[in-house]
Symmetry: C3
Subunit: 138 residues, 3 copies
């Protein structure tokens, strides 16, 4: 069995940003040599998410607007008594999910035709990290 | 180590439908011969989900009604400018989750007494697919 | 490859309670001897969750209050026709998630600086269980 670990780094210009990472994950899988197995893609910061959905600009904006409704930026969260101002980011990433496990079949990501992997930043403008852990048979 | 891949297919009669798949997943695990490991069960379409919860008709209806409230079908999503009409399906599957990883212990799914696995369709009436990836020691 | 299985048990005093379990999971990983791999941490009851977020009391209360708003305790769920009174617990755990997969690198949990693992009870005051499945190279 092969286990291969890699990291993706992000430093978004805007506080909230959604970044497609399918190709980067596929590249790490190829580098690992794993042909049958899985890959875990997981945000290492608790104000960011990783999710699988459609690569369509309108839907990406719909998701952001919808998350703002479900988990609005507000000043009166208890978390803000610590001096933080990002409680909504912790909640938004909870709805969206912070990790995915993708199957690897015949040496490639085994995704449906419309499945794309995204990094979702909710408190950016600083360096953030995603771990990519590949496991399986080479 | 053994890695075994299989697929489940769905073609629901209604646009939204929740289908229990615990037995189908257990059958694939048995076929794989894996006795200690995990199995990934993941929707390959981005308007469907896979989740673990109660096999009780009332709760299943509660979940569907609740998702309709959190992520309502509406005409004014930006995604619909592409000609699509299923933005709510993309959001509903986000709340519910699109994949689960189940432990396999002593050759069987290691589930609690009430845990059941479900496929949740939010834009059906066409052929959809779920990947089942088993990994572990035979 | 090594596969190691363990269980964590909970019996909370309050109906709803959030319990940090990072150290318990790390202890099981150490015991397993796995140095490169993953660990699945999954609630075996369908009214509880497992999630990764901040270990900060204010945020933990924010999360509980927010879940109460998204999935309120109410008497009129269909699930309650069975005699149950915990439909909201099934929904709250759906938003929060019921499992996480954590990477293991160089013999330890490979977590970001603020990542902590929590067990979230929504219908406690009775014995509950979480499965911890470690898989990888020793």
């Amino acid at each position: 069995m092969t286990v291969h670990t890699d990291y993706l780094f992000f430093h978004t210009k805007k506080r909230q940003e959604i970044v497609r990472i399918t190709d980067e994950v596929a590249g790490i899988v190829a580098k690992s040599g794993v042909r049958e197995g899985i890959v875990l893609v997981s945000a290492m910061h608790i104000t960011a998410g990783v999710y699988v959905n459609d690569w369509e600009g309108g839907l990406i904006e719909d998701i952001q607007e919808w998350l703002e409704k479900l988990a609005p930026a507000r000043s009166d969260y208890r978390h803000h008594h610590t001096g933080e101002d990002n409680a909504d980011a912790h909640l938004k990433r909870t709805v969206l999910g912070h990790q995915v496990v993708l199957p690897i079949t015949a040496g490639a990501l085994d995704l449906g035709p419309w499945e794309q992997v995204f990094y979702a930043e909710f408190d950016g403008q600083r360096r953030k990290r995603v771990v990519v852990k590949v496991m399986g048979l080479a």
